[in-house]
Every structure is written in structure tokens, then in C-alpha cells.
């Protein structure tokens, strides 16, 4: 991008537009680009956009060139010609009314066509994903499979995904820039957005955002979309639908992610039930891995995490008030639908509405003081002694750092 912004160089702006538009299609440097042909929806939109950009560029060049030429040619010069007193011209007025009108017709026809195509009811056989917006996280339900999960959504390539959009509180908007347009989640109303990821898209991860201002942590209401192969999807879905059984990860380092899950069940743990497919952590593209800094004032000794005991953690989870909001299928005590469903929590790559990587380090701090980790977070402050803005004082009935390590161990075992 040139920093040159002088008016006589206005066409430079245009070249910059063109260059950037082209480079944006590359995708690696601009991981949330809207110029894609990954689905039927964004192909239709991008075709329309191409037309708009084409005519927009022509109008831009014509107007700016006419302007620059006029002010250059008719600048006042010593000895130059006197101004010609023209008051108007009917033919010209008709021309520059009719020509733009014609251009608009050329835009309007495909626009209306695309509106009706993209807003038609989703084709039969579409995979229904019920999306519920919450301040500030996403719930995804697959009625076909009986799955409830949060902030991470898997869809198979080649099959139409029909997102049924609702909100539990204020307005939100569901947007995966690389997949197509956005649609708002409106209180007391159900909206739809559907698209079919191309078969050749491959297994990939994409960013999703809330794009309707929804309060304090609007910026932190993100999610991830994984487009996977149909068999991978089936595997994932079958496992997600199962009840949660803690899976021990023997002798794994505290910050281990789910990298090992893709391998077939390890021969050393034959008693464990088969884990389903999870998007391999090693394959996660950089732009879907959150880099949000942890607030400096929130301290936690990571050494404690090595001694976390999942069984004690399960107890603390019950006693520490967690079940007031969170559900874990298979745990009859934890059934509350208020917060994110944690059934296969450890199979997720992010936590806190896509704000942090789902590892021990971040999870411990999140449990200790979610409100410090995420502005306005509705989750209670759990760590004893942490300041709580609602109590307007330190938390007295909560968990110690050691207990938090246990809860971390428990949650991270829910693969």
C-alpha cells in the first residue's frame, strides 16, 4: 500500500483497490477475506460483488478523471480565457440521469435474482444446526445427532448446512466471512442462513464472529467453524453425542492439547472407549488460535496444575457452584442450560467464546476469575480472594488455586 494520497494521484487509489482485492483472494495473508468461492453462497455474493466493483470502478474513474481534468484545465491563469457563462444543458442532464440509471439496472437485476436464490428455503436433507446467541458465546445444537456444544461448530463438506439462528438475550449476528454473508439473531424470531461448503474445500478451520453490537464483550464473541470430510464428521458427531466419560491423559504435559486424539486409540489404554474425530490441533491454522493476552494482575501458579486430580476436580465442580450454569451429559447433577454445555469440553480448541486456547494455563485462570479474563463475562468469579465486581469485594466462598487445578484436570479429561 502506497502512502501516496494526493488528489491528483487519485487513480493510484484505484490501482491500490485493484491490487489489494486481488491479493486478498490469496487467503493466507488475509484469513478472514470475504472474496471467496468456498460455498455456493459466497460464490453468488462474490459474483455480485465483482459486478459492483466493476461498475463502481468505472464510475469512480470517470468522475474523478473528469474532476481532475476540469480543475486542471479551467484553473485561473493570467491571460487565460474568461469564464464561459453556461447555465445548464438539458441534453446533458438527461444523459447523466439516464446513464447511471442504466448502470443501476444492470446491478439491480442480478441483485434481485441473487436475493431470491439465497433466501429460498434450505434444500431438503440439509444438516440443521441450531445456533443460539448468548452474551457472549455461541451454542450449537445438532438435533439430528442430539449434540449440544459451544463456540465450535463442525460441518461436513458437500452437504448443505442450515443454520437456524436464535438468541437467548440481545441481538447478535452470525458471520463466517470466508463462508458467506451474515445473518442477525433476533429476539423472539428465528432466522436462517444456509450454504454448502464445496466438496474440494478439504478439512479446514475458519473464524466466525458476532457482528451485531451486543454489549461489553461484543468483540470477544467468536467461534470456530471446522469444515471436515463426511466420515470425519460422522465420527465427531457420534462421539459428541455420547455421554461424557473422563479420559485420563497419562503423563501428559500440562499444556498438552488434543493433538494425540487423531490417532486410533492408543494400545496402552485399551479400556478407554473410542474417541471420535477432533480437528487435529497440529493442523490448526495460525489465525484460529487465539492470542489474547492474559491480564497481568491475574496470578496463578502453573506448577499446581501438574497435581490436578480429576476425581477431586469433579467433586469441586459439583460443590463450587459450577453446576448452577453448566451441563455435562452423563453427570445427572450438572444439567443447567445457562452456560455453555461442557460435555466434551476437552475436545474443543478454544474457551471463553473463542477468546483463549483451551489449555490448562488459560483454563485455570478462566475458572479463577472469568470476569478479569473477559470484560463483562457473566460467569461467577470462583477463585477465593479474587475481587468480584458484583459482590464489590473479594470472593469468600469459592475454590482455592489447588482446587482449581483439580477442576482443570477434570474438565480437561472430558474429551
Amino acid at each position: 500500500m502506497s502512502m501516496l494520497r494526493l488528489r491528483p494521484a487519485a487513480p493510484a487509489l484505484l490501482i491500490a483497490v485493484a491490487l489489494l482485492t486481488l491479493s486478498a483472494c490469496g487467503g493466507t495473508e488475509y484469513p478472514n477475506s470475504t472474496f471467496n468461492h468456498t460455498t455456493d453462497l459466497n460464490t453468488a455474493i462474490d459474483d455480485l460483488w465483482g459486478r459492483l466493483l466493476f461498475w463502481g470502478t468505472i464510475v469512480f474513474v470517470v468522475v474523478e478523471a473528469a474532476l481532475v481534468y476540469t480543475i486542471f484545465r479551467f484553473r485561473k491563469r493570467p491571460g487565460g480565457p474568461a469564464a464561459k457563462q453556461i447555465h445548464g444543458n438539458v441534453a446533458l442532464e438527461i444523459t447523466w440521469t439516464a446513464v447511471p440509471a442504466l448502470i443501476l439496472v444492470l446491478i439491480a437485476i442480478p441483485t434481485v435474482k441473487t436475493i431470491f436464490e439465497t433466501q429460498a428455503p434450505a434444500p431438503a436433507g440439509a444438516l440443521v444446526v441450531e445456533v443460539t446467541g448468548n452474551q457472549w458465546w455461541w451454542e450449537f445444537k445438532y438435533p439430528e445427532y442430539g449434540i449440544t456444544t459451544a463456540n465450535e461448530v463442525y460441518i461436513p463438506v458437500g452437504r448443505t448446512a442450515n443454520f437456524v439462528l436464535r438468541t437467548k438475550d440481545v441481538l447478535h449476528s452470525f458471520w463466517i466471512p470466508q463462508m458467506g454473508g451474515k445473518r442477525d439473531l433476533i429476539t423472539n424470531k428465528t432466522n436462517n442462513l444456509w450454504f454448502t461448503p464445496n466438496v474440494d474445500l478439504g478439512t479446514n478451520a475458519w473464524n466466525g464472529f458476532c457482528v451485531e453490537y451486543c454489549g461489553a464483550s461484543h468483540a470477544n464473541m467468536k467461534f470456530r467453524l471446522f469444515t471436515v470430510q463426511p466420515d470425519e464428521f460422522e465420527s465427531w458427531a457420534q462421539h459428541q453425542a455420547s455421554v461424557a466419560v473422563p479420559h485420563r491423559t497419562p503423563a501428559a504435559p500440562a499444556t498438552v492439547t488434543t493433538a494425540s486424539n487423531r490417532q486410533p486409540p492408543a494400545p496402552t489404554a485399551p479400556a478407554e472407549p473410542t474417541l471420535g474425530y477432533v480437528f487435529p490441533a497440529a493442523d490448526l491454522p495460525d489465525h484460529v488460535i487465539p492470542k489474547t493476552p492474559v491480564p497481568a494482575r491475574l496470578t496463578y501458579d502453573d506448577a499446581l496444575l501438574a497435581n490436578g486430580d480429576p476425581v477431586a476436580g469433579q467433586q469441586s465442580f459439583m460443590m463450587g457452584g459450577c453446576i448452577g450454569c453448566h451441563a455435562i451429559n452423563g453427570n445427572p447433577m450438572a444439567m443447567s442450560p445457562i452456560g455453555p454445555n461442557l460435555t466434551h469440553f476437552a475436545s474443543r480448541h478454544t474457551l471463553g467464546g473463542g477468546l483463549f486456547p483451551n489449555d490448562d494455563h488459560h483454563l485455570a485462570r478462566w475458572i479463577k476469575n472469568a470476569k478479569a479474563m473477559k470484560p463483562g463475562a457473566l460467569m461467577n468469579t470462583i477463585g477465593i480472594g479474587e475481587y468480584d465486581p458484583i459482590l464489590k469485594g473479594p470472593v469468600t466462598a469459592g475454590l482455592t488455586d489447588a482446587q482449581i487445578a483439580d477442576v482443570v484436570a477434570y474438565l480437561r479429561s472430558l474429551k
Binding site: 482485492t21 444543458n89 447511471p100 443501476l104 439491480a108 433466501q119 438475550d169 451474515k182 464483550s217 493476552p293
Partner: protein, 638 residues
């Protein structure tokens, strides 16, 4: 510039005249003084809104910055929008309505001088009311659009939104009162012979704007009233549990919000339509078409509101209709652009500072207009709405368009208002730094938006491909700070140090240039009889207006016995010397405005359950307002 009037003007400009005490400003009903008050107040709020923008941009300079907290950021972007729309651009336009309309139509004042003072005081007090909470971190935080149900008690339990609801209600009253006043003024106070189709283009565009205000503000008044009732009295207009439909707010808001866009831009269009002909030494090209296109823009403006809502799922039919209506509005807007260029064509263009701003408006508004057409296509808009692409779009329209028009207007009319010129070289610095800074700030936002960056986020993650564009935008903003500082310095300094300007420093065509600078309190010693669109060119450069229809007003309609042919007035007298009755200065409009604001303030106490206190203040304020009103209405004007 050497005219016999210069010494008098110089003496006046140095403040050697009476009636400059603070009390004279508080009690003034003179449209020029009220215009000046509007100008200074609105410029102050413009700086406040700009300062908020600087904080916003600093926070967004790099990913994951911690310069301000999320809550502070949300208050900042809400107040930036609210301030710029309601406290800066609209009142800057109002400054010109006040100052110029009576001068352009050859009147001695507006139709209702005291109502005019009332409008200003309500604006000032409302502006303070809505701005002050930011000092206590209690500023509104629901966005300038205030979408329900986020703004209801359930999701915004603090007093922040109360300030917003009540503040906008107060400001709406100011705008409405002013609009009734200017509609009446323009219809009924024109000099003999000044038919509608002879009005200067600024007056015409302002005329259209007043109708937009009169028709667009009631829906927002009602939408805000519903929200006020919900927040204070537990009604269910936006209550989720009662089955309310939050789209009600959005529709009512945008029924107001879209005409509001034209309320913000049309006065700027009017101003540049004055500047361009003057510095091209040619009459405005296609005057009639310019008038009709302005009316068309205003009229169609009421039929396009839902294009702000393509993502809400209105259905294909509604999307298509609003899309087509929106595209339609591009036509009269384009016509204006072409006519401006044709106005300069074959002229003798002088690149003064106001002319540069006017030309820049054409160049930059065109960009905003083109991106506007891009949003008008709903499927494409689904990739654009609520992203930085839209932020880029409306800043090209408002900062590239409205603000540029206003700066053109300020530098053009500063000599008329103060009797002195702004410094040309400081003006050039201001212009170029502003122009570069503006493009550096907002052009990259087109890219960050289309590359997936959404609006209203206080932070963004690293590695999303947006870093460069945000860095550019922030540096552009800093450049704008420098440019604005130069402008402020120039604006303040030139009041006492600028070169003396005569009646007509630029060779203007319209009546305001026929009287001394600054204009005497009575404006015109003798009301001129107008015979064409360009009365002063008829007098001084008749070759420019040779092709235009001239006619004297029908003798029957010249009922002002004192009307005389258009002439230059160089002598400065007092109204008393000339025997011109002037309205009495009065503090009553301020009293009424103040008690009305007190009445609204009372409601704030309901939040703390202080019912008795709230009712005492509200009823007390209301009673004082009614008493003030009676006293005002029963006192003679002049």
C-alpha cells in the same frame, strides 16, 4: 479590499462596539449571534467527538491493545457517533441555517427569533446533559443506534442509557423547534421578488432539510419514548418476555436514521453549491435540476430506511424493494456530482481554501456514494454490513462530504461573520493535512472491512490480516489531529489578526455579500427587491447572469413599501438610527429551555427509586417551563 467601509469594519471587527457583554449573548435573539453561538458550541463538540475518535483509534492501533477498557471503549464509540451526529454536524449546519438563511433571502431575522434562541439553549443544555456523564464513566454505551433489547433495563441496568434516551429526547426538541422556525422563515420571509426558484442553493437544501427534520424526528421521539417508558415505568415495548419484537425499535430508528443522513449531508451540498460557482466565476450549472434532485433525495430518503437492516431477515420481497429504492436514490445524487463538475467546466477556477474543500467534497463524496451503491445490493451487503467497510463508507460521506462542506462553508463565510479573513496559508495546511489524514484514516477501512473486521469491537486478535490497515488508520487520525489543531489556531487567531474583508471579498452572487461584514444587527438597511437568482452579479457583473430570466416582482406582491432595488450597503448604523424595530433581548427562552431540561433530569432519580424527588424535580421543572412559556408568549417581541 480597499473600500470606504474598511475603517468601520475594522473598528467593528476589533470589538469596539457596544453590546458584547456576556449578558448580551445570553439574552440575544439575533439570528447571527445565535448562529455564532451554534458555531462555537458545535465546534467544541466536534473537538470532543474527535478526541473520542483519537482514543478509539489509539486502542485499535495494534491487535490486543489495552489502552482503554472494553467498557470505556463502548462508551467512547457510542458517544463518538452520538456527538458527531447530534452535537457536531447537525448544529454546525444549524449555525449556517441561522447565520445565512435570513441573509440569503433578504430578511432581517428569522420568523421566530425567540424560538430560535430557545432552540440553541436546548441544544446546548442537551449537549451538556448527554456529554457530561463520560467524565464519570457513566456515558451511554449502547451504540448511537441504541438497539433494543440491549438498551432495556434488563441488559443495561445502569444509568448510562438513561442519559442517552433523555439527552436525545431533549436534542430532538431543539431540532424540531428550529425546523418549524426555518420552514416558516424560508416560506414567508423572502425579500420581494425572491421566488422559490431564485433562492440560493444553500437555502434550498436547508429548506429540504427542515422538512426532513420535521418528518424524521417524530419517529425517533416515539421510539425513544417507548424506551423511556420501558426503562422508567416498566412497559413492554421492547421486553423479550412479553413477546416484543426488537425490530420495532430498528424500524422506527431507521425511519428516522436514514433521512437523518440527508439531514447531515444536504446542508454541505448547499454550501459547496455556493462556493463552486463563486470561485469558478460561473453560475451553478443546472440550477433547476439541482433543486429537484435535492427534493428527490429528501423524498426518496423516507423510503429506503430498511437497507440498514438487510441482515435481519425481512424476507426476499422487502429486501428487493428497499434495495431498488436505495439504488434509485443514487441517481439524483449522481446528478448533483455531475452538475458541480459542469459548474466548474469552462470557468476560471481560483483555488482558494473554501474552493479546495468544495472540490475535495466532490472527490471524496463520490467514493462514499459508490460504496453506498455497493451496500444497496442486499447479498453483497451481507458481507459488508457491520464491518469496517461500512465505517469507511459513511465516513467518506460524513467526513469526506459533510465535514468538508462545512469547512468550505466556514472558510467561505468567515469573512462575512467576522469581517476578517482566515489565514490562507494556515488554511492550506489545514486542508492538505486534513485531506491526506482523512484518506489515510478511512481508505484502509474498506480493506479491513472486506477482509473480515467487524465494527464496534474494542479489540481484535493478532494475525487476522488487519494490522496494517489499523495502523494506517490510527496514524491518519493523528494527522487529522494536527490538521484540526491548525484549524483551531487559525479560527481563533484570525478573529483579531486576519486581513480585513470588505462586503464582498470573494465576488459572491447572493444577497449576503451586499451588506457589511460582519452584518449589522438589522442585516439590510433597506430590503432589496430581487429580480434574479444572482442579484449581486446583476449589479456587479451583469455578463454572468445575462442568460438567466430576470423579472421584477409583481407590483401587487411588493407590499413592503421600503423595498428598493438590490444595492450594496457599506455604511454601518444602528437599528435605532435607522428606525428599524428590533426584537428585545430576552432571557426567557433560556429559562424555558433550562426548566425543560430540569424536568427531564428529574426522571433520572426514578432509577434510584427516589420517586418523590423525581416527581418534585420533574413537576417543578414542568411548572417553571409552563410559567416561562406564558411569560414569553405574553411579552411583545420588539
Amino acid at each position: 479590499m480597499a473600500s470606504i467601509a474598511a475603517p468601520t469594519t475594522a473598528a467593528y471587527a476589533s470589538g469596539e462596539n457596544e453590546n458584547t457583554g456576556i449578558w448580551s449573548w445570553i439574552t440575544t435573539v439575533d439570528h447571527k449571534r445565535i448562529g455564532t453561538l451554534y458555531l462555537w458550541t458545535a465546534l467544541f463538540f466536534f473537538l470532543v467527538g474527535g478526541f473520542e475518535a483519537v482514543l478509539i483509534r489509539t486502542q485499535l492501533m495494534r491487535p490486543n491493545m489495552g489502552f482503554v477498557s472494553a467498557e470505556t471503549y463502548n462508551q467512547l464509540f457510542t458517544m463518538h457517533g452520538t456527538t458527531m451526529v447530534f452535537l457536531a454536524i447537525m448544529p454546525l449546519s444549524a449555525a449556517f441555517f441561522n447565520y445565512l438563511i435570513p441573509l440569503q433571502i433578504g430578511a432581517r431575522d428569522v420568523a421566530f427569533p425567540r424560538l430560535n434562541a430557545f432552540s440553541y439553549w436546548v441544544y446546548l443544555l442537551g449537549g451538556i446533559f448527554i456529554t457530561l456523564p463520560i467524565l464519570f464513566k457513566l456515558a451511554p454505551n449502547g451504540g448511537w443506534f441504541g438497539y433494543a433489547p440491549l438498551t432495556t433495563n434488563r441488559f443495561s441496568p445502569g444509568p448510562n442509557i438513561d442519559f442517552w434516551v433523555l439527552g436525545l429526547q431533549i436534542l430532538g426538541i431543539s431540532s424540531l423547534a428550529a425546523a418549524f422556525n426555518f420552514i416558516t422563515t424560508i416560506i414567508n420571509m423572502r425579500a420581494p421578488g425572491m421566488s422559490l426558484m431564485r433562492m440560493p442553493m444553500f437555502t434550498w437544501m436547508s429548506f429540504v432539510v427542515q422538512f426532513l427534520v420535521v418528518l424524521a424526528f417524530p419517529p425517533i421521539t416515539i421510539a425513544l419514548f417507548f424506551l423511556l417508558m420501558d426503562r422508567f415505568f416498566g412497559t413492554t415495548f421492547y421486553a423479550i418476555a412479553a413477546g416484543a419484537d426488537p425490530l420495532l425499535w430498528q424500524h422506527l430508528f431507521w425511519v428516522f436514521g436514514h433521512p437523518e443522513v440527508y439531514i447531515l449531508i444536504l446542508p454541505a451540498f448547499g454550501l459547496v453549491s455556493e462556493v463552486l460557482p463563486t470561485f469558478s466565476k460561473k453560475p451553478l450549472f443546472g440550477y433547476n435540476v439541482m433543486v429537484y434532485s435535492g427534493i428527490m433525495i429528501g423524498f426518496l430518503g423516507f423510503g429506503v430506511w430498511a437497507h440498514h437492516m438487510f441482515a435481519v431477515g425481512m424476507g426476499a420481497v422487502a429486501d428487493s424493494i428497499f434495495s431498488l429504492m436505495t439504488m434509485l436514490i443514487g441517481i439524483p445524487t449522481g446528478v448533483k456530482i455531475f452538475n458541480w463538475i459542469a459548474t466548474m467546466w469552462s470557468g476560471e477556477i481560483r483555488f482558494t481554501v473554501p474552493m479546495k474543500f468544495a472540490i475535495a467534497l466532490i472527490a471524496l463524496f463520490t467514493i462514499g456514494g459508490i460504496s453506498g451503491v455497493m451496500h444497496s445490493s442486499p447479498p453483497a451487503d451481507l458481507q459488508q454490513t457491520d464491518t469496517y467497510f461500512v465505517v469507511a463508507h459513511f465516513h467518506y460521506v460524513l467526513f469526506g462530504g459533510s465535514i468538508r462542506g462545512i469547512f468550505a462553508g466556514i472558510s467561505f463565510y468567515y469573512p462575512k461573520m467576522t469581517g476578517r479573513h482566515l489565514d490562507e496559508s494556515l488554511g492550506n495546511w489545514h486542508f492538505w493535512l486534513n485531506f491526506i489524514g482523512m484518506n489515510l484514516t478511512f481508505f484502509p477501512m474498506h480493506f479491513s472491512g472486506l477482509l473480515g473486521m467487524s465494527r464496534r469491537i474494542y479489540t481484535y486478535d493478532a494475525g487476522q490480516g488487519w494490522d496494517l490497515f489499523n495502523m494506517m488508520a490510527t496514524w491518519g487520525t493523528y494527522l487529522l489531529v494536527v490538521a484540526t489543531a491548525i484549524f483551531v489556531w487559525n479560527f481563533v487567531r484570525s478573529r483579531t489578526r486576519g486581513a480585513i474583508a470588505g462586503n464582498d471579498p470573494w465576488g459572491g452572487a447572493t444577497l449576503e455579500w451586499s451588506i457589511p461584514s460582519p452584518p449589522p444587527e438589522y442585516n439590510f438597511a433597506q430590503i432589496p427587491e430581487v429580480t434574479s437568482r444572482y442579484p449581486l452579479w446583476d449589479l456587479k457583473a451583469p455578463e454572468k447572469t445575462a442568460g438567466i430570466d430576470h423579472s421584477h416582482a409583481d407590483a401587487m406582491t411588493i407590499t413592503d413599501a421600503h423595498a428598493v432595488p438590490v444595492h450594496e450597503e457599506t455604511e454601518r448604523h444602528t437599528a435605532k438610527e435607522l428606525g428599524i424595530p428590533m426584537p428585545y433581548p430576552t432571557v426567557k427562552p433560556l429559562v424555558v429551555a433550562f426548566s425543560m431540561v430540569v424536568m427531564f433530569c428529574g426522571l433520572l432519580f426514578l432509577r434510584n427509586g427516589m420517586f418523590a424527588v423525581a416527581m418534585t424535580i420533574t413537576i417543578g421543572g414542568g411548572a417553571a417551563m409552563v410559567a416561562g412559556l406564558y411569560s414569553w408568549l405574553t411579552a411583545p417581541l420588539e
